[in-house]
């Protein structure tokens, strides 16, 4: 089988499976999977920058929150319809990632990590500072009546699942297309050897900036959809913790693979959920699992597949 056929089969298969699961899963896992798909979209966005371009951002929560608040404030303050609010969320992510990218990309390596971290921290504090609109850390509710998109009530479990699925499928397909397109090849070249890519005549800065914007906008879209589907907008989603999460998910699933973010998010979600049912010390279980994974599956779960089974895994 050709690589291309295998790729289509694998990713198409996953999407078909997720689509079919909608009709089979019990209510609890049905709800969980919807949540995981939205969070995995966030991780996919992160992976574009981290896995494919080799830039480690510690401030992605700022993009996620930009989308969430762009959407939420449009609904709350301007009484916008959900469709328009989602556009506002994505737009907020586009602008924020553009500005942050322009500044932060002047740095590299660890300095880039710190700069993004600092910008995200400033963003978090800004949400608190404008508490009269954002209700600070407490956040606000998007009421059910405000969550009806083109006549579809997004608070209904089935609709929520399909909305999450639509977001996840489009993020997955867009990035799959992107990394196989010339643009993606340049990103990978930058990751592998930035100087050589520059020498070959590629505009490295422009490509990196585009990667930041794509990554940030996908993250923002995930944030906006998350707020709309689950009816809550809050500052905790802008905190450092939520910048670390996608890094964790991506590293667990396999950085620089298309399926990695989903696998990592799903794995981490159920690791916490199941272990919290057995013991109150579930963070301990999570900690031990993380250490064990770095020892025994260093490239992440999908990375291990790529190494052992199929070298061509995108």
């Amino acid at each position: 089988m050709s690589d291309r056929a295998k790729t289509v089969l694998l990713h198409g298969g996953l999407l078909a499976l997720l689509f079919a699961l909608q009709f089979m899963l019990p209510a609890y896992h049905h709800g969980n999977l919807a949540r995981v798909m939205v969070l995995a979209s966030y991780a996919i966005g992160f992976n574009v920058l981290f896995g494919y371009t080799g830039l480690l951002s510690l401030g992605h929560a700022m993009f996620f929150a930009a989308g969430m608040y762009g959407m939420g404030l449009a609904v709350q303050v301007f009484d916008a319809a959900p469709a328009l609010a989602l556009v506002a969320g994505a737009g907020a992510g586009l602008v924020v990632s553009g500005v942050v990218g322009m500044l932060a990309l002047r740095t590299a390596g660890v300095a880039f990590m710190i700069v993004t971290l600092m910008f995200a921290q400033a963003g978090y504090l800004t949400i608190l500072y404008f508490g009269s609109y954002t209700r600070g850390d407490e956040g606000f509710v998007i009421q059910q009546a405000q969550r009806i998109l083109w006549g579809i009530d997004l608070s209904d479990p089935t609709n929520r699942y399909f909305a999450a699925f639509a977001l996840f499928a489009s993020c997955l397909l867009i990035t799959l297309w992107l990394v196989r397109a010339p643009f993606g090849k340049v990103l990978i070249a930058i990751r592998e050897n930035e100087e050589r890519a520059m020498m070959l005549g590629y505009d490295v800065f422009a490509h990196k900036l585009a990667a930041v914007i794509v990554s940030g906008t996908i993250a923002a879209m995930a944030g906006a959809v998350y707020g709309l589907l689950f009816g809550y907008v809050g500052a905790s989603f802008a905190s450092v913790q939520y910048s670390i999460f996608p890094l964790l998910w991506v590293l667990l699933g396999g950085a620089g693979t298309i399926l990695g973010p989903f696998i990592g998010t799903l794995f981490m979600f159920y690791l916490i959920d199941l272990s919290s049912g057995i013991t109150t010390a579930y963070m301990l279980v999570a900690g031990v699992a993380l250490v064990a994974l770095t020892l025994f599956a260093p490239q992440g779960l999908a990375g291990a597949v790529r190494k052992r089974i199929w070298r061509g895994l995108p």
């Binding site: 609890y28 949540r35 009269s132 600070g136 809550y232 905790s236 109150t280």
Partner: protein, 430 residues
């Protein structure tokens, strides 16, 4: 795995022995018969959303102990509608995202009859939309104004603890009449602090006083002295409220800043909840005033009800754990769990609650409750429930630090805590 139902996370060996002894005592025949009869039917399953980890863990531990004590007492008296109560505890990590997931778990995985618990406002606000969609009655013990503000939904109620708006406005008459008219407020720069800022500023103006400065402290802060010079010289009263692990630093540094010449001070006990009043550096608090939701120290006129409640939870007359005098309870808040569970019991009995199909009936039954007399079920005081706003109203206590203990000097009336309705949840469909 049905979780560690109702086991306190802090079971000591001695505690376990005591429980065993109590169990043996309870095995005397009539009670035993009742127990056995009740155990034949399915238990009522209450999902308990608790801060076991994260910033709220110190509160969560005591919410857990209070809940366990109340459920033991309810079960020993025959349960609810002849059925035992089973607590299914899940950690929300003091995080709104996890909180919402936990609510889903209660409704869809554990098949709980209702959800109950949690304190921190952001967790409540993050979880409530899901509870509303799943039509899971969700009883919160948060003291936030979110329920009565109309932000949440018909399935979310706060019948066991008063909200910050009524607490704060009830303080203004006492402060202006006894401590001074020119107030400087110091509060955390997030929603809880903003509620204090807005409601107290308005209330003190009504009393003819004024707020001369508002100092909002960023929630990530760990050292505070640098902000205190913003307190104007003319200040007569410093009004302080702080939450989180740095509260003791905050109060200590306030003392070090003023030295021997402090103005009057009025604080919310949140600034020192779960903190030993005898901690080094707190000596300067002698003669200052605190709001208390429920008096930490057993007062000379302690009610029978408080005595029973205090003993059941395992708290001594100084508000500390019976086994460890250094382990201070969150006495001003945790009574809310006890009272809420008894409201749930009363509601379920009034509704003839049988199972999840009766959830809507339960909501209507609780909405119909008005008076809650001072009793074993309501050891903090007489309360009045407003079925339209889903919020309870009750007395507030003001205590003065005397010889290192908090002695109640003023109890507000329920009327002082009332404000006009901001929502009527009963108009929403069930």
């Amino acid at each position: 795995m049905t979780n560690d139902s109702g086991k306190p996370s802090t079971t000591t060996r001695r505690g376990a022995l005591k429980t065993l002894a109590a169990g043996a005592g309870a095995a005397s025949l009539p009670l035993w018969a009742r127990y056995a009869q009740a155990q034949t039917s399915e238990p009522i399953r209450i999902g308990f959303q608790v801060h076991r980890t994260g910033i709220g863990a110190a509160y969560g531990r005591w919410y857990d102990r209070t809940t366990t004590a109340a459920v033991d007492m309810i079960n020993a008296a025959g349960g609810i509608n002849g059925r035992m109560v089973e607590i299914l505890a899940e950690d929300d990590g003091t995080d709104p995202k996890r909180g919402a997931e936990v609510v889903e778990k209660f409704a869809n995985q554990h098949n709980c009859d209702i959800g109950f618990g949690t304190l921190f406002s952001h967790v409540v606000i993050g979880s409530a939309p899901r509870a509303g969609e799943l039509k899971l009655p969700y009883f919160v013990v948060s003291e936030g104004h979110h329920v009565a503000s109309g932000m949440l939904n018909r399935y979310t109620l706060q019948p066991g603890i008063t909200d910050v708006k009524s607490q704060v406005q009830a303080m203004a008459p006492f402060v202006s009449q006894n401590l001074g008219k020119k107030v400087t407020m110091i509060f955390p720069d997030f929603a809880f602090g903003h509620d204090h800022r807005d409601y107290f500023t308005a209330a003190i103006q009504e009393q003819g006083g004024e707020v001369v400065a508002q100092i909002a402290i960023p929630p990530t802060e760990t050292s505070f002295t640098k902000y205190f010079p913003k307190i104007p010289r003319e200040t007569e009263v410093v009004y302080h409220v702080m939450v989180g692990p740095a509260v003791l630093t905050f109060v200590k540094e306030l003392g070090e800043f003023f030295g021997p010449s402090r103005p009057e001070m009025f604080g919310f006990i949140d600034s020192l909840e779960a903190v030993d009043m005898a901690s080094p550096g707190l000596e300067f608090l002698e003669g200052t005033y605190f709001w208390e939701g429920n008096p930490r120290y057993a007062q000379t006129d302690q009610s029978e009800y408080d005595k029973l409640y205090r003993t059941a939870v395992g708290v001594d007359e100084n508000g500390a754990s019976v086994g460890d005098p250094k382990d201070i309870s969150t006495y001003a808040h945790m009574f809310g769990c006890w009272e809420t569970l008894y409201v749930i019991k009363a509601g379920m009995e009034a509704a003839g609650y049988q199972g999840p199909a009766d959830r809507a009936k339960l909501i209507e039954a609780v909405e119909a409750i008005t008076d809650m007399p001072h009793s074993n079920e309501h050891p903090q005081g007489t309360k009045l429930f407003n079925g339209k706003t889903h919020q309870v109203f009750g007395p507030q206590y003001i205590s003065r630090v005397t010889d290192g203990k908090l002695i109640v000097v003023h109890t507000t009336s329920i009327e002082d805590t009332m404000y006009p309705d901001e929502v009527d949840y009963t108009t929403q469909p069930l």
